[in-house]
Symmetry: C2
Subunit: 466 residues, 2 copies
C-alpha cells in the first residue's frame, strides 16, 4: 500500500520517485542513483528550458574537464575552505600513484578560470558569457535524498566575465530575469534572498539564493547567483586591456542550478495519486486512452489514431496507450506519472462526435472532437496556471512577518534586523532556524531588531532548511 502525500510527505517523496519511474535508488553507492528513462527525459526537458533561456541571452555552451589538479583548486583560499571536506580525490591510475592528486569537480570555477586568462585579452572580449551542464560531485555528509541531496549532481553552471562591477551587476539582473522564465515554466513560486555574510558561497563577494518551500514546510535552495567581484580573477590572473592600454582585473559572476529543480517540482505539485508534471517538461503532455467495447475495436482504434495524428501535428508530445489492458489501470499509471491531459475515446463518444478531456487535477470536460485542439491548448494553459496558483497559495501562507519570533514557528519568518552578524547568529540559535538572508528586491523595514533593540535596517528571513 502506497504512502499518501497528505499524511506523510517525506515517505511519500521517497517512494514516489521510484514508483513514477524517475529513478532507481538501489545502485550500490550512497547518494548516487540511476536515472530511469522517464526521469531522464524530464531532466532533459528541464535542461532544454535552461539552454533556451541562455541562448536568448547569448551565453555559449562549453565543456571543461571533470578532473581538477589539487594545486589549481587551492588557488583561491576561501573557495578551498568551503569545499575541502566535500571533494572526492583521485589518487591512482592503473597501478600508478599520481604525482599530483586530482579531484572530481564539486563546481568548476577553478577549472574554468585556469583557461579564461588565455581567452580574454582586451575589453573587446568582454563580456564573456559561458555555461555548461555537467556531472559534479560532493561528498555530502547529511542524509541523502533523491534529486534533493545527492553525491553525483547534474549541474548547470554559468560563468561570466565583465569589465567592471557595474557590468557584472547587470549580468546578475539578467540572471534574475532568466530565473523568472525557468521557474514560471516549472510553475514554481520562489523567493530571492541575499545570503548573510556567514553563509555566502565560498569565494563570493555576495550570494543570492533562490529558495522554495517544500510541503514539509522546510526551505530548499534551488539555485544561486554569485557576484565574485575580483575574488577569483586576482588569484587566477584574469585580466583585460582597457581602451587606454591598462590591464584591469575582470569582475565575475556565476549562476548555478541542479536536479533539485525536479525534486521540488515533484514535491510541490504531486498529490496522493502521484506526481504532476508541468506541461513544459512532461515527456508526455497528452495521453489518449481507447475505451474498447466488444465489436467496436476497429472503430475506436481508427478514431484514436486519427486524433493522435491531429494532436501530434500541433507539436504536442502525445502518446496513444493502445496496450491490451483496462482503461482503469491506464488512468492509474498516467496519473501516477503526472501526465497533464488525458483524452478518452469510446464508441459512444464517436457516435456523438465528442471526446472526453481529463486534466491531471481531475477536471473533466466533454467536448466536440472538432474543438479538441483548442480545448487542449486552453486546458494545458489553465492547468499550468492552476499548478502555479496552488503552489503560490501554499507558499504565501507560509511566509510571516514577526517582530518577536518564537521557536516552533513554521515556514519562513521575516524579522526586523539591525544587520549585525551577532544578532543574526543568535536568532538562528534561538529559533533553531537558518538565515536565508535579506529580501531581493529590498523591502523597507521600520521595526526594531528583537535581539538588540536597535532600529532595523532590513528584514531578514529565517526558516527550517534542507
Amino acid at each position: 500500500m502506497a504512502v499518501l502525500k497528505s499524511t506523510d510527505f517525506d515517505e511519500w517523496y521517497n517512494e514516489i520517485v521510484e514508483r513514477a519511474d524517475l529513478c532507481d535508488k538501489r545502485y550500490p553507492v550512497k547518494g548516487m542513483n540511476v536515472w530511469r528513462p522517464y526521469g531522464w527525459e524530464v531532466l532533459q526537458n528541464i535542461d532544454a528550458l535552461i539552454r533556451e533561456e541562455l541562448k536568448k541571452t547569448h551565453h555559449q555552451e562549453v565543456y571543461f574537464p571533470l578532473l581538477i589538479p589539487e594545486k589549481l583548486f587551492k588557488k583561491e583560499a576561501d573557495h578551498i575552505k568551503g569545499f575541502d571536506a566535500q571533494v572526492y580525490w583521485v589518487t591512482h591510475a592503473g597501478e600508478n600513484k599520481l604525482e599530483e592528486r586530482l579531484l572530481l569537480r564539486p563546481t568548476s570555477e577553478t577549472a574554468i578560470y585556469s583557461i579564461y586568462p588565455l581567452w580574454i585579452r582586451s575589453h573587446a572580449d568582454l563580456p564573456l558569457k559561458t555555461f555548461q551542464i555537467v556531472n559534479t560531485f560532493r561528498y555530502e555528509t547529511k542524509m541523502t535524498k533523491a534529486f534533493l541531496r545527492v553525491r553525483e549532481i547534474h549541474f548547470f553552471e554559468s560563468h561570466t566575465c565583465h569589465r567592471d562591477f557595474k557590468d557584472a551587476e547587470r549580468q546578475i539582473q539578467e540572471d534574475l530575469e532568466m530565473a523568472q522564465g525557468f521557474f514560471k515554466n516549472l510553475c514554481l513560486p520562489y523567493l530571492l534572498s541575499k545570503r548573510p555574510e556567514w553563509d555566502k558561497f565560498a569565494g563570493a563577494f555576495y550570494s543570492i539564493g533562490i529558495d522554495v518551500i517544500l510541503p514539509s514546510k522546510r526551505v530548499i535552495q534551488l539555485g544561486s547567483i554569485h557576484q565574485y567581484k575580483e575574488n577569483f580573477s586576482r588569484p587566477f590572473g584574469i585580466t583585460y586591456e582597457d581602451e587606454e592600454g591598462n590591464h584591469q582585473y575582470c569582475h565575475q559572476t556565476t549562476y548555478g542550478m541542479s536536479e533539485r529543480l525536479l525534486g521540488a517540482t515533484i514535491s510541490i505539485h504531486g498529490d496522493d495519486k502521484g506526481i504532476s508534471l508541468p506541461p513544459s517538461v512532461a515527456p508526455i503532455q497528452v495521453v489518449i486512452i481507447p475505451i474498447i467495447f466488444k465489436g467496436k475495436e476497429e472503430m475506436v482504434q481508427k478514431k484514436c489514431q486519427e486524433v493522435y495524428e491531429k494532436i501530434e501535428n500541433q507539436g504536442w508530445r502525445v502518446h496513444l496507450d493502445d496496450r491490451d489492458s483496462t482503461p482503469g489501470g491506464k488512468y492509474y499509471e498516467w496519473e501516477l506519472k503526472g501526465v497533464p491531459l488525458r483524452v478518452d475515446i469510446g464508441p459512444r463518444d464517436i457516435e456523438k462526435g465528442t471526446v472526453t478531456l481529463v486534466r491531471r487535477d481531475g477536471k473533466k470536460i466533454e467536448m466536440l472532437e472538432t474543438t479538441l485542439l483548442d480545448g487542449i491548448k486552453k486546458e494545458m494553459d489553465d492547468y499550468g496556471e492552476s499548478l502555479m496558483h496552488q503552489a503560490q497559495t501554499f507558499s504565501d501562507n507560509l511566509i510571516h512577518r514577526s517582530d518577536s519570533p518564537k521557536k516552533g514557528m513554521e515556514g519562513i519568518i521575516e524579522v526586523p534586523w539591525c544587520g549585525d552578524e551577532t544578532c543574526g547568529l543568535e536568532m538562528e540559535e534561538e529559533l533553531d532556524m537558518k538565515t536565508l538572508g535579506t529580501p531581493i528586491p529590498t523591502v523597507e523595514c521600520m521595526g526594531t531588531c528583537p535581539r538588540c533593540g536597535k532600529t532595523a535596517t532590513t528584514w531578514v528571513r529565517l526558516a527550517h532548511t534542507y
Copy 2:
C-alpha cells in the same frame, strides 16, 4: 604560418583542432581538453544524430552513476584484466579514506549490469534496449591526441538484453544498420571487421570493429559492437523467466562510439584551408556575407536580412556575418571553420536580382535570388555527396589484397588466412601491423595462408593502427 594538411597531416591536425575553435589543449591535465563552444556544438549535433537513430529503434536513454565500486567492477574476470591498467581510482573523500575504492567508469557494463537483474523479471521484459551518452575515463598510456585519444572520453554506449543468442544477433544487425545511418550523415566510408580472438573486447564473445583510414594511412577504430552471449549475465545474475517458468540467462550486446567520430570527420574532410563539416552536423550550414560598398550599406543590409529570414524559415542553420570587417577575412574564417555554403550579396547582385552561392569546396554558382532556396537544397546535398565520394575514393585506393604481404605496405592489406592464431600473430610481427579482423559480411577466399601454406578459410585485414 599554418601547417598544410597536404604536407604534414599530423601537425595540421594538431593545429586545426584549435585554430577552428573546436577545443583548447592548454588545460593542465594531459589528455583532457576543453571543448570550446563551436566544437561542443558540432559534438551535440553528432549526439542528436545518435539519439535520432536510437529512438527510431526503440532504445531508451538512461543515466548510470560515474563511480563504480571496486567489487562490482571485478565480477567479470576478463573484463577487469582488460581495464585494470587503465582505470582512475577514487580513494578519498574529504579527509576520509573510503572503505571501498571507487573507480571512474571506463565503460559502464559493471554499473548497469548490477541493476539489470532488478529490472528484468520475465520474457515480457525483453528485449531491454537502453543507452547513455556520458563521460568515461581511461588512463591512456599512448600519446594523447585531441578527440582521437583522450583520457576523458565523451562516450555513447548502448546496452541490450535478449532472450537468446539469435535475438542478440538480430540486435547486432540492427546496430549495423544504425551505423550505416550515422556514417552516411558524417560522409564517412568505413569497414566492418570481426576482431580476432586475441583482440576482442574484454569480456566479449566476439567484437566487431568499425574502422576508417585516416590521411596518415593508418586505421582508427570509430566504434565497436559486441556480442557478450552470457558472459556478463552469468556473473551478474541477469536472468528471466521464460514461458515455461524456467529461469534463463539473458544474452547481451553493446554498441559504443565516441568523439573519435568528430576527429575522423575533421581528419578526412579537411584541407589546407581548414576543416569541412558535413551539413548534418555543421553548427552553421549557410553563412551570408554582405559585400558592402560605400553609399549602398543600407540596401545590402536590408537584402541580407531578407535572405537570412528566407533561409532560416526553411529550417537551415544560417548565420548573417554582419561584422564590420572585410569579406576576405570572413571568407577565410568560415572556410577555416568548415561552413558548407556561403551566400555573397552585394549591390551589383541586388541590381541583377542574383546572389552568389559558394561551396566550401570552392564551387561557385551565381543564381537568381528567386531560385536560391532550391539552390541551397541542391548544393547542400551535392556537397555532402561530394565529401562522401572523395572520402570513398581515398579509402578504396588504400585497400589492397595480397597473398604475399611485405613490410612497408600502406593502408589496409587483405591476406588469405587459415584462421590460426599463430599465423595471425606472426603476420602482425612480420608486417609490423595490427590485425583488424575478418571482413563483415564475409567474403569468400580461395587462396592459401602465406604463413603455413594451408588453404585459407577467410581473408584477414591488417593495417597500421592508432
